[in-house]
Amino acid sequence: MVSLRSFVAFTALVIIACAVAVPASANTTTVTGSVNPIVEWNAATTGTLNLYPNYVASTGVTNGSGIGSVVAATNAGYTGASGCTAAPAQTSNIIDFMNVSVPTGTNTTACDYQNALSINVSTNDTTGWNVTQNLQLAPGAGFTLCAILNGSLYSGTPRAAAPMGASSATGSSASINETSCAGSQETLGKNNTTPTTVTPITNQTTAGTFFQGEDVLLLLTSTTISVGSYTANMTVTLTLN
């Protein structure tokens, strides 16, 4: 941030100096030389957090008019493809799993919303930054939500073409046939003060522009879930170090 006060003072000084420098008479002695004006300013720390629900891997931004893609587990022992339905057109920054079947017997319904969220961080803070994500409220009994990272953290300015990792989930992928968030998946079940970490975007220690994409996996693990419309809110927090 440019110091306005210093700038004004400096400008006033220049004006006064110019006024004094105007020759009052022909007897004025001219002195030649040079000075090196010192210009100082402090750059304020800035941070920007952008979230793009339902992102397009080729651009990293929201697929405003496209169709979200939900992939279901199909292996035996699970409700299967019929348990999930295609997502509707994107509206108002919501990812909508649409109608999801409540599992029967010992089955689980597992629906993976592909390319659900792209997180973009940009900062000039050379000590780095940290991103966490969490649900505002824990999901109800029988529901689990997991974040599945797509590719690795991309960094660079300006953004290169197609920097985002795309979902690798498929309908036959064993990775989404599960009853709880597995392996590197992050469980989104915490409250507002206990964040879920997102490993590649936790504790970066440099300035720059960064992108990370992820899927959101919805698991229905109870056969007694009531019919209804359910909502979850995910909060993504950026903190500069």
Binding site: G47, L49, N50, S65, S92, N93, I94, T126, N203, M234
Partner: protein, 264 residues
């Protein structure tokens, strides 16, 4: 007939063109840009500092923004944990006041907020910290998953004076299952302000450095906090070694620690 065929061909071509054309993207996304993204100031007990903070809606949609305060801690992985404001310890969250508390911002527009740090008039010393949350309110629509962008604007206020100090409490070395050597350095911030750690680990054999490993850059340790830093190195040939950690915490001197390690 020929006319009909030509017309069909041109319609097909038109349909193919429309199909291939990218769909016009409707606006979407959430975005917050905050300046300054971190506030550091020096202040006296019983006084108030007012800091302007610029919040920009960095998205193509209007947003409603809500502000709140919290305490925070940082764990070994560098992850922040937030808690309700407490008047105790080194927290200043209860000293913060903001105006306005919530507001609407048009797409691509900005709002200036005033953050006031109101320091109690009592005996205080060193650095006090808290965060100001600047958060978009999620859309109120049933069904699906909604998102909220939250910026945690840290506030550090030094009351009177503060100094950097610290020590290495422990250095460990061990070999993992893959044959790599792992080194751990435990640093304790004994000063009265937050510090950023840099430094290196030297693996010495008979006094000579055989391997040097940089510590991760700018490792944050809050006032009174402790941080364990892990670094992996190549497998060492069997021999006795000295593992020396040299840590620069931004003070007048550096600190360090040493441990003897027999590689087998």
């Amino acid at each position: 007939m020929m006319y009909a065929a030509a017309r069909l061909a041109s319609l097909s071509a038109l349909a193919a063109t429309l199909g291939a054309a990218p769909l016009a993207a409707a606006p979407g996304g959430l975005g917050l840009s905050v300046t300054p993204g971190k506030i550091e100031l020096t202040i006296h007990p019983g006084s108030t500092a007012n800091i302007p903070v610029l919040v920009r809606n960095d998205s193509p949609l209007p947003a409603h923004v809500v502000l709140s305060m919290a305490d925070f801690t940082v764990d070994d992985a560098g992850t922040y944990h937030y808690e309700a404001p407490s008047p105790n310890g080194t927290s200043l969250a209860t000293w913060l006041a903001v105006r306005p508390r919530e507001f609407d911002i048009a797409a691509g527009s900005f709002q200036q907020i005033q953050v006031s740090v109101i320091v109690p008039d009592r005996e205080l010393s060193g650095e006090y910290a808290g965060v100001l949350f600047i958060q978009t309110r999620p859309p109120r629509e049933p069904g699906g998953m909604t998102f909220s962008a939250r910026f945690a604007d840290k506030v550090y206020a030094t009351v009177g004076s503060a100094h950097r100090d610290g020590r290495v409490d422990r250095v460990d070395a061990e070999r993992d299952g893959t044959g790599k050597e792992h080194y751990r350095v435990v640093f304790h911030n004994t000063g009265t302000m937050h510090v950023y750690l840099n430094g290196r680990i030297e693996i010495r054999r008979d006094g000579a450095v055989v391997q040097a490993l940089a510590l991760p850059k700018n490792v944050l340790v809050e006032r009174g906090g402790e941080r364990t830093i892990e670094v992996a190195g190549n497998r060492l040939t069997p021999a006795p070694y000295d593992i020396v950690a040299i840590v620069d915490y931004g003070g007048d001197t550096r600190t360090g620690g040493r441990v003897h390690f027999d590689a087998h």
